[in-house]
Amino acid sequence: MSEAMGMLLAAEPDLPTIDDFLPRGILFQGTPFEINRIILIRIVATVLLLVVLGITAKRAKLIPGRWQGVVEMGIDFVRDSVVYQIMGEVRGKRYLPMISTLFFTIFVFNLCGIIPGMNMAATATVVMPLVFAVWVLIQYWITAVREKGLWGYIRDECFPKGVPWPVYILLAPIQLCELVLIRPASLTIRLFANMVSGHLLVATTLAFAQYWVIESANKLAGIPVGMLWFLFGLVLTLFEAFVAFLQAYVFAILSTVYISMSYPED
């Protein structure tokens, strides 16, 4: 349908589809380094994060200013209420850089979903969460091999003590599947599906707002209904900011829990 026809008829609001998450390439088409809109957002977000945190770290003073206070609050939050709370200080110190990196990167990437102009979370395709999840997978296997040895870890997880032996036939494959497949897959699906559904939700409310205010024939009913949709969209945008934080927090907590499960129990 042509543009003019669309303006005249306007039978349907311009609802978002799943094609939003498969945008066309804008640079280097046809090569493996093809850059599309979402990858551009990732690059911008990464550069922004590095520059802002780098400048903050470079200008760090003993008595923090306002911005440094905010950054330190975030880092303290990851340290005290995520890593040290779960693993304790002795074991947790080693993983602090990794978990902080995960938390901040995921948080900023998720926030891209509600920044006007970007409007798409950088974690909204399956690849980016998968990278984080595989990183966590490799890390907890390395930790397990270092602390218990490979066979010790598999024995503790798949053949726990105090279980009658016929149960092992059922239990061992399930546990092994959990260790290598379900943990990273659930981390990935949780993050990516949350971002996809959040984008679809906000975009749907705003599409309805645009449809009712601008394209609806009946202006008397259309404008109040459209304003309501717009208000709803604003509320959902704030909710998405909360979800962005919550998902980063949950990802950090679960990574820490998985790593701490690789340690022998005291």
Partner: protein, 76 residues
């Protein structure tokens, strides 16, 4: 539409599937948050720990609901 057709349903069946998929996690979340509130009211001094365990449970329950969502995206 001919006279035989009394009712017509248009749309995608996966919407109903996703509606069903939210039921179980909904129950789970209700129990989870209810119990967390209850135990925080009983022992406010360990509320931080309870909250953290609650979020771990939330993550595990949430992924079940999202599985329904992802399945609807994958299976066309």
């Amino acid at each position: 539409m001919d006279i035989i057709t009394l009712a017509e349903v248009a749309g995608n069946l996966s919407v109903i599937g996703y509606g069903l998929a939210t039921l179980g996690p909904g129950l789970g979340l209700g129990i989870l948050f209810g119990k967390a509130m209850e135990s925080t009211a009983r022992q406010p001094e360990v509320s931080g720990k309870i909250q953290m365990i609650m979020f771990i449970g939330l993550a595990l329950v949430e992924v079940l609901g999202l599985l329904g969502f992802v399945a609807a995206l994958i299976v066309k």
